[in-house]
Symmetry: C2
């Protein structure tokens, strides 16, 4: 045990050294090279083996601890946490998640308008009364089967949005291309019963269980860019996440 991690660090690469270490260890864990419970060498030796300083090594391990892949204990050492491929819930769009999984999602635009925001939306997006927003509802399908019904409001002073673009790609992708750098989002997950309309669109029965999600996203300048209410078919979608103790 405690063999020196088969890693190579490229100092001429633009990707930060600590991030190269994060990637390397992550790969070693997912590939099974580092088994659950395996004890790593101590920080100082690891750093020396890779010709890095201890703070850099530590920063890398910090990230992995936060991501839930490693567990540290003072005076003892660092261990690979027990198994199962688990991705922490990150700030990403459903569209991106699905394509990353290899699915080919499609989007039906149900409604699309450019209107004055009502009081509730103004509050949620931190806008002055009377400001205009994009408002649209979409139906997301995978392999022809409906998965989610999404209603969103987006402020209109950042990116121009049109119906054609929305049907081709995810909302977040459009916003990112428009120069929006998302930083964080607050979301709330709950449950509800399908109404007749929802059931019809999602091709299920009224009274079926739905997962509900409300989200408001903030960009790197602190603007509240987007807010939305989504519902998912409970038999086809759950939110997976990893919680880390601070």
């Amino acid at each position: 045990m405690a063999n020196s991690l088969n890693l190579t660090i490229d100092r001429s690469s633009p990707v930060p050294l600590y991030h190269q270490v994060v990637q390397g260890i992550q790969d070693a864990i997912t590939s099974g090279e580092l088994e659950p419970g395996h004890k790593l060498e101590n920080e100082i030796d690891l750093a020396a083996a890779l010709n890095l300083s201890r703070p850099t090594m530590r920063k890398a391990m910090d990230e992995l601890v936060r991501a839930g892949l490693l567990v540290r204990k003072r005076g003892v050492g660092t261990q690979v946490v027990s198994s199962q491929v688990r991705r922490p819930l990150e700030l990403s769009s459903l569209f991106d998640d699905l394509t990353a999984q290899g699915s080919k999602p499609t989007t039906d635009i149900l409604t699309f308008s450019h209107v004055e925001a009502d009081a509730e939306i103004c509050t949620k997006l931190g806008l002055a009364a009377g400001a205009k927003v994009y408002h649209f509802t979409r139906l997301r399908k995978v392999a022809g089967k409906p998965l989610a019904l999404m209603e969103n409001w987006v402020r209109n002073d950042i990116v121009d949005i049109d119906e054609a673009g929305l049907s081709q790609q995810g909302l977040y992708s459009i916003l990112r291309k428009g120069g929006v750098n998302f930083r964080l989002a607050t979301q709330s997950i709950g449950a509800a019963i399908a109404t007749e309309l929802q059931a019809k669109l999602l091709e299920t029965t009224p009274g079926a269980a739905l997962v509900t999600m409300e989200r408001t996203a903030v960009d790197d300048t602190g603007r509240l860019v987007e807010t939305g209410r989504h519902v998912y078919r409970a038999d086809q979608y759950t939110f997976e996440m990893t919680l880390v103790q601070r």
Copy 2:
């Protein structure tokens, strides 16, 4: 703007300096002293003003960025994020969350046994076939109204659990007192329809919406300590969280 944070640092305190800064800024934000959108002084000046080194100051701000309270941009500066005070979803028990809110939750023990784990539970807890576990179901009420129905399995080689203790305090509290230091958990949130039995216990109607949650928790030695399936009344409970872009 950019007035120097009204903070005092106690160097003789056992609490780390960076954490004192985190607390201080957090308090300033929640108290409204630092308004959303407010731009902070730069790291170097802030550090100097508090007689701290820049790495220490940075570490404090890092935490706040991860917690979703601050937003940073290279070449520009650091801002207080404009948002409602919402704490990120942390690894905590329902019981603790409720008491922290000022509620006084009660627990009814519905079943309690000490049995051989079946194959599924063995897998989830990483146990050898035939290992014994505690298995119990509880009904959690707040102000006399039922909120959650919880079924849990706990490995039995760490802490002794009895029915009396469970009815008095939360599971996590018991485990912590038994020397378990939780580090992370994976959980999955979805939705379902109340069965007749569930409806009866939760004092709602069959077919009502329920939020479902499955969780497996890991301690600081990498042991899979506990796994459980919970259902909550959707009209009384949602999961709130903050997602931070890495």
